[in-house]
Symmetry: C2
Subunit: 413 residues, 2 copies
């Protein structure tokens, strides 16, 4: 089963917009067991669209188009599809009613061009767009499926998931697929691969392991393909167990959970609270923690002490330490973490101080050196890292590492 | 002059990697006055690459390939190009020396596969890769140009800018192009377009205006194409003047400057300093300010007071105000901004408090309501906004708006 994607729009070609739609669709298709063989981006141009459709029909079973369904005159996907299938646009009354209700709800006047959203090629089935005015469309022609979706990502995603996937599943006999994803942190992709090399090599041909890396974190995705879903699940479970045995310390969760969300859930379950005292991250850790809805139940606040005098004034870091050990030192971050914990009356205090760069590195403390501390009532742990010479990455990795240190501490009790 | 891009790699099709390379190349080509007509992503597969090259050669003058140049066995771009041009791989001694020197420098053993990085098709010219081991390649065949680049973004970008662009410019007579970009903030794309509609309509055909929007900000890019660069510059200058007359308040800078960077420069020039007191943004504004290298010369610190008791304890917000006016009120943010300014002894104090959601909206203060205040020695200004129902966007737009308020205040003196 082969698929291809055609994205339509000049904004994609001149680089105004980065095409995230087709990466998302690629993930979904691969999740369904459909191989995406080709994707192309073309201009809002009739000849380009017709040629792309012709080429696609020759090589693929499922052809997904995105974009060009807006109400303005540069959106020509629908009329061009009509020309391709030698049919014409007809009004769909249910869609018209829906579009009119949206305008009534928004208390906006409806223009003629908006009415045209309800015109669709006569040979299509509607894929309902509950988030917008441009309907998705499904064409089943000579056993090839054409799916036309709007380019707006959240409209496209919902239509694909809720409307197109069920139709694809009933049209084609797809293999059973079972996915399981482990979220890892604080270990690089190649080190991870080395650690679980034996497990990976022992996988049967119908179970694949994918490494999906981002800065400081790697998702490990098992995908099993076959006839019997239950036995696939069981088999994957065995391999997952082996992976846990090798790297359990690095696995913070499964599925789509972020580390921030996972840490938040741990704190919430235990009714524990947290505050941060940040130097080199400049508020990034607090920002990450509060990006999770509901974080106000465990996050109290932060002292961002970028200047040394603020470290002394707000957190009581002793001037001796700043003079003798420096702001980037074990002693300094321990005082910071303890002080913010007491000040904000929280279960834990997190602190960090480091050299994010681009300047400020020395022989003793090269660029990227970061001290992180976690204070609780009983003890304060501190650890030093080197995150390298990129400012943004150092800030990002400091945040991940601080949260992972706290996560491990909570789990150890 | 038409170009097209072929990106090679399974990771692009299954959505493991979002293709940012081709958006960047699209921007560069459009900047050179070359129209990018088509881009495609294909698998690491010989037949797919050969077909893509054949199709591309029929419709485009410049064909840019990225990816598939690594040392492992799934990287087959070079051998496939050889097959396409009916030639063979030959060793390039300068590249071999370069690759060997990289391994010596990294103190890593060199494997046979690494030596193969120095093999290139006999009919190519080398595009030097000073950042990596895979050379770029330039093929001039029947007046069509084929450019093969590695997929690693920073290698690809440097080779394209420093090696390929000069060769493109000497091979083709491209029109003179002059770009000028105005950075605007706190006005939506459609309102902006409405305000400068007359100017846009009066542009001659050889001057284009592009809107490049992101959350809360829009870049306006004039591009002028012709023979005489100096007269183009002058002409654009006239239109830019007219735009400034209409929307000067919203233009914070030109070129690539970010609002954070621009604000930082203003503070640095005037030797002024800043601190923040953040509730709903949870440290985001401090994080943004400190994402700029050198920000320690003007940013002192922040009090992130997520919990109300921290607002009282650290910033002295009166309990009466919290009870009667609420934390999301003019009175509260004014006290916060004044207090943090005094506490950190800075020229300005920025504060904000709002309902980022998803819960917490009321009839009086719907979701997205945010109060922002700026305190200086003489006065404290506060303003209320509604940024809508998306948590992430509300946090982001609060940051932009707070920085823009301060920018305007500084400029007014």
């Amino acid at each position: 089963m082969n698929a291809e994607i055609i994205t339509i729009g000049d904004e994609l070609l001149i680089g105004q917009v980065i095409d995230t739609n087709s990466a998302w669709l690629g993930q979904q298709l691969s999740g369904l067991g459909i191989k995406l063989c080709y994707k192309s981006s073309i201009s809002d141009n009739k000849v380009a669209i017709l040629n792309a459709l012709k080429d696609a029909e020759l090589r693929s079973d499922i052809i997904i188009l995105t974009g060009g369904l807006g109400p303005t005159k540069d959106d020509i996907t629908k009329v061009t599809i009509c020309e391709y299938f030698n049919t014409s646009l007809v009004q769909n009354d249910k869609v018209l009613e829906w579009v009119q209700s949206i305008f009534r709800f928004r208390k906006m006047p409806m223009l003629d061009v908006n009415n045209m959203q309800a015109l669709v090629p006569a040979n299509c089935e509607i894929l309902w767009n509950k988030n917008g005015t441009a309907p998705g469309m499904w064409f089943d022609v000579n056993d090839k499926i054409f799916i036309s979706l709007p380019g707006v990502p959240f409209e496209m995603k919902t239509i694909f998931e809720e409307e197109a996937v069920p139709k694809i599943n009933s049209k084609f006999k797809l293999p059973s697929i079972f996915h399981r994803t482990l979220q890892t942190v604080s270990i690089g992709e190649s080190f991870l691969a080395k650690k679980i090399e034996d497990i990976e090599n022992s996988l049967p041909s119908y179970i694949k392991l994918a490494y999906l890396p981002s800065v400081g974190a790697v998702r490990l995705r098992f995908s099993a393909y076959g006839e019997d879903k239950i036995s696939l699940e069981k088999e994957v479970e065995e391999y997952v167990k082996q992976v846990y045995e090798k790297i359990s310390d690095h696995i913070y969760g499964e599925g789509d959970a972020s580390l921030t969300q996972t840490l938040g859930n741990l704190l919430k379950e235990r009714k524990q609270t947290i505050s941060t005292a940040e130097s080199c991250t400049g508020g990034y850790i607090a920002h990450q923690l509060t990006s999770v809805p509901g974080s106000s139940s465990y996050f109290m606040g932060s002292i961002v002490c970028y200047a040394n005098k603020i470290k002394t004034q707000e957190l009581g870091v002793s001037e001796d330490i700043l003079r003798n050990n420096g702001a980037v030192s074990e002693e300094c971050v321990m005082q910071m973490a303890q002080a913010v914990r007491l000040k904000m009356n929280t279960t834990f205090g997190i602190s960090c101080s480091g050299i994010a760069g681009p300047d400020g590195g020395t022989n003793d403390k090269p660029l990227g050196t970061v001290w992180i501390a976690i204070a609780s009532e009983k003890e304060t742990l501190a650890q030093v890292f080197n995150f390298g010479d990129n400012r943004e990455r150092t800030i990002h990795r400091t945040g991940l590492m601080a949260m992972d240190m706290l996560r491990k501490k909570i789990l150890k009790g």
